[in-house]
């Protein structure tokens, strides 16, 4: 066991830190220090500017191969970068649904033509991807989804009908990746196909609506006989095999629950800010101090568990269903960190500010990416081995 970083890794950290510090300051200056939420129309453009800066600096997708715009960083370096990213106060990635959810699936299932076309454009922010999983009647029970894609060989493509909803940043994105029922007689997880859909097709209507935190980050996507041609993008719009969409999508959802969406750096940085807040506000309340410590320890424990998981993974022991425990941990931790901050702020917590905003967003954690109740079922059945029926 060696919990220290090598000289090379420390050098990587120093390089990332220096670059982030300099370029974040420049980005803020470009926007007169008025940085809006990336989940609003105006803010999205500002954040796209930041994404381009990241890409040009070579930091947009550090763990990807250089051919696709990355720097082939190791998993350890990726974790270091994430720590530095959030420690520097850099904003949440508006491209995250693409680079953290779609991209791993493209690397695993995409053809060479799809990879060449999709990945670099995604990393540069040329194409902006949103996730089209949920439907009005299919959330945690994703296998019940009913949006259809009908094959039209004459025209050479697919005809799409149905509705997707709760689509994060859907109103600002250019493309959607989602599951569609391609076999009309199929049930549950059979007969589904993973499709890549440009949102500017005729017959697609995107309507944004407000989230609990006030941002317009959600959208519903109506598909009314929209025609998706086979040459919609090089390599075609089907990811994996027709009818095999469920297993392709499951690879994405385990990325979502596990490491890639919520690296520990985000929570350890928030925990350090919580400790700062307690000190700044002249904390004297032992009960509140105890909660700050508890939240700080839980963030640190998340970091440690991740380091253990990455080591085990490198040794050929993937985490598997334990990613459900990870999702439970970070989502509940996020709420605890922010609730504690609001209690330190006292009555002032009513005023809009980063902690209040963060609290509202944290409340979504136990709901999205598969509700925590679903995760508890998965953990009980697949980690502990309890009977399904």
């Amino acid at each position: 066991m060696d919990l220290t970083w090598s000289d090379d890794e420390e050098a990587f950290r120093a390089e990332a830190r220096a670059w982030l510090q300099e370029n974040l300051a420049a980005w803020r200056d470009r926007h007169d220090g008025r940085i809006l939420s990336g989940d609003t129309a105006e803010g999205f453009a500002q954040h796209l500017d930041w994404e381009r800066t990241l890409f040009d600096g070579g930091w947009a997708v550090v763990s990807w191969p250089e051919a696709h715009g990355g720097r082939a960083a190791s998993r350890w370096e990726w974790l270091i970068f994430e720590e530095e990213y959030y420690r520097a106060g850099a904003p949440p990635r508006i491209t995250q649904n693409g680079i953290f959810l779609l991209a791993p699936t493209v690397f695993e299932y995409g053809t060479a033509a799809q990879q060449d076309h999709i990945l670099r454009r995604m990393a540069r922010g040329d194409d902006l991807w949103c996730q089209g999983w949920s439907e009005p009647d299919a959330g945690s029970d994703l296998a019940s989804l009913s949006s259809r894609a009908r094959r039209d060989d004459e025209r050479g493509g697919w005809v799409l009908d149905g509705q997707k909803t709760w689509t994060t940043r859907g109103a600002f994105c250019t493309h959607l990746f989602g599951l569609f029922r391609t076999d009309p007689d199929s049930e549950r997880h059979r007969g589904l196909t993973y499709l890549l859909v440009p949102l500017d097709l005729d017959g697609i209507t995107v309507r944004g609506f407000g989230r609990l935190d006030g941002d317009e980050g959600f959208a519903e996507v109506f598909l009314d006989g929209a025609f998706l041609p086979d040459d919609a993008l090089p390599g075609g719009p089907v990811l994996g095999e027709v009818g095999a969409g469920w297993s392709v999508a499951m690879a994405t959802t385990s990325s979502e629950r596990g490491l890639t969406l919520r690296s520990p750096g985000r929570f350890t940085a928030t925990a350090d800010r919580l400790a700062d807040l307690y000190r700044e506000r002249g904390g004297r309340d032992p009960a509140l101090r105890d909660r700050v410590v508890q939240a700080w320890m839980h963030a640190e424990a998340y970091r440690l568990q991740t380091l253990q998981t990455v080591t085990a993974d490198a040794d050929g022991h993937p985490a598997g269903a334990r990613s459900s425990l990870v999702k439970l941990w970070w989502s509940e931790l996020d709420v605890a960190l922010h609730e504690t901050a609001l209690d330190i702020l006292g009555p002032d917590a009513e005023l809009d500010g980063p902690w209040t905003k963060g609290w509202q967003f944290a409340l979504s954690g136990p709901i999205y990416a598969g509700t925590n109740e679903i995760q508890r079922n998965i953990a009980a059945e697949r980690v502990l081995g309890l009977p399904r029926k």
Binding site: W5, V292, V293, A301
Partner: protein
């Protein structure tokens, strides 16, 4: 960066695990409970008992394997291994609720005597298992296995200087008859309550005493991890078998969610304990903080596992005929000894300058 134990560390753990599975099943833990009734008339340790000589045999077998000297340098007759080597062994002793002072003897007293130069010349008898050590950390007067220990130490912070002080207890005065067992929740600990004691000379320097305390807290945290795992394993087995309404109760979502939450606490407490072992082994600047985080989180995880186990077992878990109480009570006692979670969180808060 590599957060994993070595093959050698796992091999040693497996050897001790096998030994304990054979020599220390629940009936041996029960055999350590005293006969008779407690003040409330309830018979303790009810259920299958083993031949009492088997209780002693476990300790002798551990001594024979050399693990009582795991943390003692080779020049003093030990195995000369680090916290990273014995932390997993402590987990195993927790898993079986070993009815002996493994942490106090092997992880605390042994290495402390070795650094202090073994002033009374008792180290050899600690290593061969003929002498058992107990420790009174943070001013407690309760001596676990007080009827069997022949070496008693105190570990406290001097309020004037803030320095840790270790002393050998020269003479203790037990409440009631000499070495009478106190009426305690985990009678398998064979606890004796002292009324007063006479402290002997200081043992080692302040730094040695601080290290000894951290080792005791780490070892206890590791035992709590083992206990939590045991109670979850026991419960997973039970709810898979026990049927109600025509199906195993483990198929009920309410039962699944209880157990998932218990597994969750354990999943994130264990790495904290393993990191604390690394910090001690490497002399990291954050050792006190890391050990305290480990002890606080392991205590919480074990308590959660115990409550979950009891709830999911229902009434059978509330009997002394069933094994759960052996682990549940041990976990509750260990969660509050060597510093309870609040004490340790305060130490983390101090380390964070909160």
């Amino acid at each position: 960066m590599r957060f994993a134990f070595t093959d050698d560390q796992h091999d040693l753990r497996d050897a001790v695990r096998d030994l304990l599975a054979k020599e220390c099943p629940p009936e041996v833990v029960r055999a350590a409970w005293p006969e008779g009734t407690d003040a409330h008339g309830a018979r303790k340790g009810e259920g299958a008992r083993a031949d009492p000589s088997r209780v002693e045999r476990v300790w002798a077998a551990l001594a024979e394997m050399g693990v009582l000297g795991v943390a003692v340098p080779e020049e003093h007759g030990g195995l000369g291994l680090s916290e990273l080597d014995w932390v997993l062994l402590a987990e195993e002793t927790g898993y079986v609720a070993l009815p002996h002072p493994f942490v106090e003897t092997a992880a605390v007293a042994g290495p402390l005597l070795a650094t202090a130069g073994d002033p009374d010349g008792v180290l050899a008898s600690v290593l061969d298992g003929s002498r058992r050590a107990a420790v009174l950390p943070l001013g407690t007067r309760l001596v676990p296995w007080g009827d069997a220990v022949t070496l008693l130490l105190t570990l406290d912070v001097d309020p004037a200087t803030g320095e840790w002080v270790a002393r050998r207890v020269a003479d203790g005065v037990a409440r009631g008859d000499h070495r009478a067992l106190a009426d305690v929740v985990d009678a398998g600990r064979r606890t004796v309550q002292l009324e007063a004691w006479r402290a002997g000379d200081r043992l080692g320097a302040g730094g040695d005493a601080a290290l000894a305390f951290d080792r005791g807290a780490l070892g206890t945290a590791a035992q709590l991890v083992g206990l939590a795992r045991r109670m979850i394993d026991l419960t997973v087995g039970y709810v898979g078998e026990r049927r109600q309404f025509g199906v195993p109760i483990g198929s009920f979502q309410a039962v699944k969610h209880h157990l998932a939450d218990a597994a969750l606490q354990l999943e994130f407490a264990a790495p904290a304990v393993h990191r604390a072992a690394w910090s001690l082994a490497t002399g990291a600047a954050t050792t006190h903080r890391d050990v305290s985080m480990a002890k606080a989180m392991a205590s919480d995880a074990a308590r959660r596992a115990g409550r979950t186990a009891l709830q999911c077992h229902g009434a059978i878990g509330y009997t002394t005929e069933y094994d759960l109480h052996l682990f549940l009570k041990r976990a509750e006692v260990l969660a509050r000894t060597w510093g309870d979670p609040a004490w340790h969180r305060t130490r983390v808060a101090d380390a964070l300058a909160l």
